[in-house]
Amino acid sequence: MIVSVILIPFITGILVPVIPFRKRWQKEVFLETAVVLNSILVWYLLLHHSDSTFLLAHFTGNLNISFRVDGMSMVFAGLVSALWPFATLYAFEYMTKEENENVFFLFYTLTYGVTLGIALAANLLTMYFFYELLTLVTVPLVMHTLTREAVLASRKYLYYSLGGAAFAFLGLIMVIVYGSTTDFILGGVLDPAKTAGKNNVLLLIYVMAFLGFGVKAAVCPFNSWLPQAGVAPTPVTALLHAVAVVKSGAFAIIRLTYYSFGTDFLQGTWAQDVVMAVVMFTIVYGCSRAVKETHLKRRLAYSTISNLSYILFGAVIMTPLGLVGALTHLVFHAIMKISSFFCAGAVMHQTDRHYVHELNGLGYKMPRVFGIFTISALALMGVPGLAGFISKWNLAGAAVESGNPLAWGGIACLLVSALLTAVYMLTIVVRAFFPGKDFDYSTVSDIRDPNWKMLLPLFVFTVCIVLFGVYSQPIVDFFMSVAAGAV
Amino acid sequence: MGPNLLANYGEAVSAILFCIGFTNLLLQTNLIKKIIGLNIMDSAIYLFLAEKGYIAGRAAPIVVDGVTSVEAYINPIPSGLVLTGIVVSVSVTALMLSLTIRLYLRYHTLDLDEISMQLKREGK
């Protein structure tokens, strides 16, 4: 059952170029059906999960490829499978303007499976395996347009990701050697008997592994691949570089921190201070770069960098509440960012405008898109009543509660970042809706909102943003129980 | 150290020779000199083996006069090794020489660096 949800996307993806579809809509129906079915299957699996581990294959020694549904995987798999059908729907419309659709959908769907693999992995090795795989299946997506820029971006992406994985690998080794098992167990698996006297080495390796996985989560100084990877088609940037790929990085770090090394081992050590400082710096750095950036998608990418570090900030607080904060932001940021990216994609698709200064006055012509964009912008800023506030509240609450002065500084970083978020998001909104007195409306005369395939996902995400903003109780409760290990 | 060295002068000489040969093979740019170095090096080893194999006052292990005592003869294996080694060394030398001829015919020089320069100029 667990394996099937990973395999179905694989099979579907491979079938796309193989089956000779006569009409485009046939392909769309086929893909969408498969994706939706798979998502339903995932949700069914998550809701009726059993605690047993599914062993797929033995690797060497005591290393297995195995899958299990636990709290964390429920969060991530649920998120991914909820977003994917919408993103696919959106991609259909977006890709009408791009070439080589089949290859695109092949890898796009493969990525779904791989991401689920990361989410459902039962041990560090399995996760590492899918983590590497994720890099490989997403590279073709970045390279999709095959322009020089795209090639450079994908090359950089590859270098960074594989390089990061190389160091994450060291963490894996540590857990294999010093842990009692590689399975994910909340609280960590390091065996105190084995680690005695080796703490500093382990911490050093933890920092390395953190930065290694952090490459995918775009931790500074390893973040420059993400804005560059924005050359990919928007569904990719939105889903992968705002959700699946980068969140996998964050997810991996959470797994590493909470489920492998264990917070008891890490808390209060210099390693925690180091990673927290890095994360705090990234939060501010990402935002400042976003303010400077004039390319719309790259600006959003920088925003992603900063927001990912919010998640990591929650994670490195290393308390259950911190984990709750991280999870909240993991989920909520996914929705907010995918929504804003889809808006950006809709703008690019409808108008072929890429830079912020080209967006003047578009708000009148695309009121729905920009209305939604405004909401997601406000949510990203953390305006109460929208989802972003809840996650920031949880993060900051955890930081205050931890009593760690550095974490208190982190709150300041969060707020500075929120301000910068306002700067870079609201300037867009203001441009779109208040283009200035001498604005020539004829330049936007033939622009209109995109069709329902693009708008439907946007509406759904917006509803989610508002819904989670005002009524987050159940989901936060669920995160609480995840963090307490009760799920 | 000193007395040992003097007592085992054969080994010392062979070691020195080996070094000479080795250095030549490594550092000479002229291919013929390199090959000579190779031969010196190999010969040094044979010298070493022969030196080790010979015990003063004993004869080659060919039974004459019915003397079968072990004390009377030297160990024949080193000699066998030397022979084998010489065979190997000859074939290797032959191969090297043939390569040298090929290179000379092609580039009209025996200098390895010079050949490399020409190759670079060819650009292939």
Partner: protein, 495 residues
């Protein structure tokens, strides 16, 4: 409960309705906007809202939780005396300015957007006044910024857009600084519901007292941004003048008061006893005094009338903050009195300035010679309001300043107990210096004034009546301060 909710959500929905129904047509679109219907509708909405607020003020006593953001974060409403006082201000100023704008906005583009956001801001303000805990307050505080920003940049000139953004970012900056404090308060209080005598746990004070002081200071500074407190006052003189005059009136009179309200709430949360006598109080008082003096001085040097009024707002708001910072009952009374007095006076002044601009297009003070002859009613109101702001009895300003000075002297603080009143006095002199010249030149244009070209330019009733009402209100406060003293006394104790 329903009264409060409807006083909040009715204007919001009405605003949204206007925004959508009367969307400004783009060039090439056939649709035209029926201006009459729009203004009538807006007027009706404004009146209904005002009625709803009034009803809520009179009747609503209960508190209720609307829903929970998270398990421990209720969106909670409760009308207490402080809120009631601010509500009173809003419910008088906003409809007046609204009716004023029906005339004023005649020639502006995209009217519907203005009215829409105006109503939105009204609703949010009501919510702000009836918010019962810090989170609810913060929620509407942010929304207030968002909804009032379009009012600032309404004209969409480059200057206005930049001013709007400046306003936005300053306000957000302040709000986030405040949020920083809220995070810490949340951990160190049992609940975030408002109180007047400190919600901090005794154990928390013992444990992180020093850090909590920092937090308090950060929060004061943060909310102080909205109230134009030095050093984060720069947005105010930029943003207020570029907005349409009725919007400036509302901004200066009511919306900046949200910052004051916030600070009152914060003081309540931390408790005056916790802050009194600490470095926070000293620094804060110094800041307010600096602002008072500096605002007046800048206003004195400013040639553009609306900008001058904006600087005056900076200065006057810090009177209020000074009153709060003294943390003494009399001064508190003075501060709250000044909230009302300044609200009425400043809105009246801005509306007068708006009427002048609307009729004559003159914006600079030296252009206003003889204006009193042209627009006598308007200028009379302007004069009375100015006198009120200077603090000449029997206007509202006198009462409040009297209490402020008295409270300060009574407080027994070192240095500031005397220094404060002195600066207030100096500033009052400066106020006279910057407000009276237009009046004097307006009525006494001098011998060389060409009476032959004089025309009556008195604006229509839609403009004069609101100005008149507001001016009257300011005088009324001065004549009968007792009618609010009860509510202020209740406010001090947090009821």
């Amino acid at each position: 409960m329903y009264l409060i909710l409807s006083s909040i959500f009715f204007p919001i929905l009405a605003g949204l309705f206007l925004l959508i129904r009367y969307r400004t047509p783009l060039p090439g679109e056939k649709r035209a906007i029926d201006r009459k219907a729009l203004t009538t509708l807006t007027g009706i909405f404004l009146l209904i809202t005002a009625a709803l607020v009034a009803a809520a003020l009179l009747h609503a006593k209960e508190s209720f939780t609307l829903f929970y953001l998270t398990k421990t974060l209720p969106i909670y409403f409760r009308i207490d005396s402080v809120g009631r006082l601010f509500s009173m201000l809003a419910v008088i100023v906003l409809p007046c300015a609204g009716f004023f704008s029906f005339e004023y906005m005649k020639h502006e583009e995209r009217e519907s957007r203005y009215y829409g956001f105006y109503l939105l801001a009204f609703g949010v303000l009501n919510a702000l006044c009836s918010a019962g805990n810090l989170i609810t307050f913060y929620l509407f505080f942010e929304l207030l910024t968002m909804t009032s920003m379009p009012l600032v940049l309404h004209s969409c000139s480059r200057e206005a857009v930049m001013a709007g953004l400046k306003y936005l970012f300053y306000s957000l900056c302040g709000a986030y600084a405040a949020l920083f404090g809220i995070y810490f308060l949340y951990q160190n209080c049992d609940s975030l519901a408002f109180t007047a005598d400190g919600a901090l746990r005794a154990s928390s004070i013992a444990e992180h007292g020093g850090f909590l002081l920092v937090t308090a200071f950060v929060m004061l500074l943060g909310f102080g941004v909205k109230a134009g407190m030095f050093p984060m006052h720069a947005w105010l003189p930029t943003a207020h003048p570029v907005a349409p005059a009725p919007a400036s009136a509302v901004l200066s009179a009511v919306i900046v008061k949200a910052g004051v309200l916030a600070i009152i709430r914060v003081l309540g949360m931390f408790g005056r006893d916790f802050l009194r006598g600490t470095w926070v109080q000293s620094v804060w008082i110094s800041l307010t005094l600096v602002t008072v003096f500096m605002g007046s001085l800048l206003a004195y040097r400013e040639p553009v009338l609306k900008k001058r009024l904006a600087y005056s707002t900076v200065s006057q708001l810090s009177y209020i903050l000074f009153g709060l910072a003294v943390m003494q009952e009399t001064a508190f009374t003075g501060a709250l009195c000044h909230v009302l007095a300044h609200g009425f006076i400043k809105s009246s002044l801005f509306l007068c300035a708006g009427a002048i601009i609307y009729k004559t297009g003159k914006t600079r003070v030296e252009e206003l010679r003889g204006i009193g002859k042209e627009m006598p009613l308007t200028m009379w109101c302007f004069t009375i309001a100015s006198l009120g702001l200077i603090g000449i009895p029997p206007t509202g300003g006198f009462v409040s300043k009297w209490y402020l000075a008295l409270g300060s002297l009574k407080s027994g603080m070192p240095v500031f107990d005397v220094l404060g009143p002195v600066i207030l006095l100096v500033s009052a002199l400066l106020t006279a210096g910057y407000l009276l010249p237009p009046v004097i030149h307006g009525f006494f244009p001098g011998a060389d004034y060409d009476y032959g070209r004089l025309q009556k330019k008195e604006p229509c009733r839609l403009m004069t009546v609101p100005i008149f009402i507001l001016t009257t209100a300011s005088v009324f406060i001065g004549l009968f301060p007792d009618c609010v003293s009860g509510i202020i006394a209740a406010a001090f104790t947090g009821r």
